[in-house]
């Protein structure tokens, strides 16, 4: 049998495409059409109105929780990336071993909820942190501000998503040959200079990708913020989930989900334009590749 490359490509990709169409594209479109329906006393009515979007955009609560989600997402993604880059650098260029990476990823084998409860145990009024501080006499009664604060939320989210971020950073760094560091140093940069002048620009797209993926996962996580942030942990995800689970206002929930989707995309473009404007992400000129 003689198959062209495009045909083989199509055959290989088909199962995934079919799966994604059935279980992602179609439900997304259904959800999208829901966002234009109306809801009357717990009943959803097919319609074509923009009230769900307008209500969301005019709702102070929606903006409060959305800004909260974006803030938590950006802080956590930024902290994770800053922590992940040196680790990735070490894994790719210094130790050159896969074992360390696997050890880091093993933390993912523990249950997500267990880790959340572990942090509650650490940070609560009867928790380890307070016990230590009391013992040392640094405080004279337990501090309840550790738990149910954005501090607790951020520290836990960083803990949960850091391995993922390290994985992404490591894979984007491993595409950059270590020779380039040698060459940069040979031409007069320090090893830190080699990182900023050569590794970072070449990895910029990958690092921006790692940042954004971490951001999206974190901004959409409504369990951790709720369980560790208390009232300060209200995020869009929670609000949306409530529309579906409690108030039964699916059209409003769908509209809010799409607003959040648009906000994420907008943030991505803002990030990339910022990167390009500051020269951190190199935008390549395209040249007629004649004769190559």
């Amino acid at each position: 049998m003689n198959l062209s490359r495009t045909k083989i490509g199509a055959i290989l990709a088909a199962p995934t495409v079919v799966y994604m169409v059935i279980f992602f594209v179609v439900p997304s479109l259904i959800l999208f059409s829901y966002s234009f329906w109306s809801s009357e006393s717990y009943r959803v009515v097919p319609d074509f109105v923009f009230t769900n979007y307008l209500d969301s955009l005019h709702s102070a609560v929606f903006w409060k929780v959305t800004i909260n989600a974006v803030r938590i997402g950006l802080t956590t993604a930024a902290i994770s990336l800053v922590l992940a880059v040196p680790v990735g650098y070490y894994l790719v260029y210094v130790s050159r071993s896969q074992t360390m990476l696997y050890l880091i990823l093993i933390t993912w084998f523990s249950s997500y909820l267990v880790r959340i409860y572990a942090w509650r145990t650490l940070l609560g009024t009867n928790g380890v942190l307070n016990a230590v501080l009391l013992q040392l006499g640094i405080v004279d009664h337990p501090v309840d501000a550790f738990l149910f604060s954005s501090f607790a939320v951020t520290i836990t989210l960083v803990h949960i998503y850091l391995p993922f971020c390290i994985l992404l950073v490591t894979s984007s760094l491993s595409e950059i040959k270590p020779d380039l560091i040698d060459a940069a140093r040979d031409l007069g940069t320090s090893s830190l200079g080699a990182f900023f002048r050569v590794i970072a620009p070449n990895a910029a797209n990958g690092l921006a990708g790692a940042f954004m993926l971490t951001f999206i996962l974190v901004a959409g996580d409504y369990v951790t913020p709720q369980m560790l942030g208390g009232s300060s942990g209200q995020t869009t995800g929670l609000l949306i989930a409530d529309q579906f689970r409690k108030t039964g206002n699916w059209p409003l929930g769908a509209a809010q989900a799409f607003v959040m989707f648009v906000i994420s995309i907008a943030l991505y473009f803002i990030l990339v334009s910022l990167g390009r404007a500051t020269g951190l992400i190199v935008k390549r000129r395209t040249i007629n590749p004649k004769g190559i």
């Binding site: 380039l180 040698d182 140093r185 040979d186 002048r197």
Partner: protein
Amino acid sequence: MAAIAPIIEIRNGTKMFGSFTALADINLSINQGEILTLLGPSGCGKTTLMRLIAGFENLTSGTIQIGGVDIANIPPERRPVNMVFQRYALFPHLDVFENVAFGLKVKGMPKEERTERVNRMLHIVQLESFANRYIDQLSGGQCQRVALARALVNGPKVLLLDEPLAALDLKIRQHMLAEMKRIHIETGATFVYVTHDQDEALILSDRVVLMEKGRVVQVDRPTEMYAKPKSLFAAKFLGETNIFETTITAVNGIGTTARTSSGIQFHSSETLTKKPSEKIAVSIRPESLTFQHKNPDAQSAECVVDDIVFMGSRSFYTVRLNDQSKVRVQVQRDGRLSVPSPGDKATIFWDASNVVMLPRD
């Protein structure tokens, strides 16, 4: 030759990778301003030696001095050395111009001067019209020229070149060789050059360092190394040669005589420290053999012509001696002389000065 003052001095340099010895007890002085070529089979440690000088690896034991200073604790960026990498190591996020300008920019050279120097260098390597291309839009040979320009533009005291011309075709290689000689004279820099190509080594070098399995086996001027190899390995590696297994028959004031088991006799005017009946290898280059004897003292052997390969100004003959061993003879074209044809019986002649006797491996 340039003034004799070592700029790089390697003493007892040993480099291990785990339990593997990549370089064993290297002692080497590199003179100020010379072109020194590292020559040797793949994996003999040429790149490793360069990386040690550049500072990307550290010696397991021994010392390296540059300009009289031990460089063990000096990082690569502060060594007065630039390297052209075997695999180019060009920066993919920068275009050709920016790649070449990188070192000057790091050093903070003003933009105007920098642009001028880079453009001059791009002119030398004939890449002016490619200044705005990215690296993945270049051919292998073009990449190699960018790598060369990126190192040369910094005007280093020592330039390390790891097979910089390997990917170029003959014509541009000859052009680049001439350019490199010119740049070498112009800058007065010391060149340490790695190549697999003997012709390149012979054309370019003031001295050749021949390496084998992590050791330096001979350091000599190219002509010396070609004419007086000190080992069978050196004789075989540099140029083509005929090797005869012989036994010494006499050692005296007028030289050494040795004979193959089939009775062919070789006489060398050198007096060896060997004794009769010891085994020794004799090496004679194809161009040192002739079918016409000009010298009454010439030595000779009978043969039958097997095959002739015509190569323009010269021809290569394969002849068979009476013990059936094959010998290559190079004949310079000369219309006045008659030469044998395939199948003919003939006699090959050689002079004592061309007989090189070498210890067997």
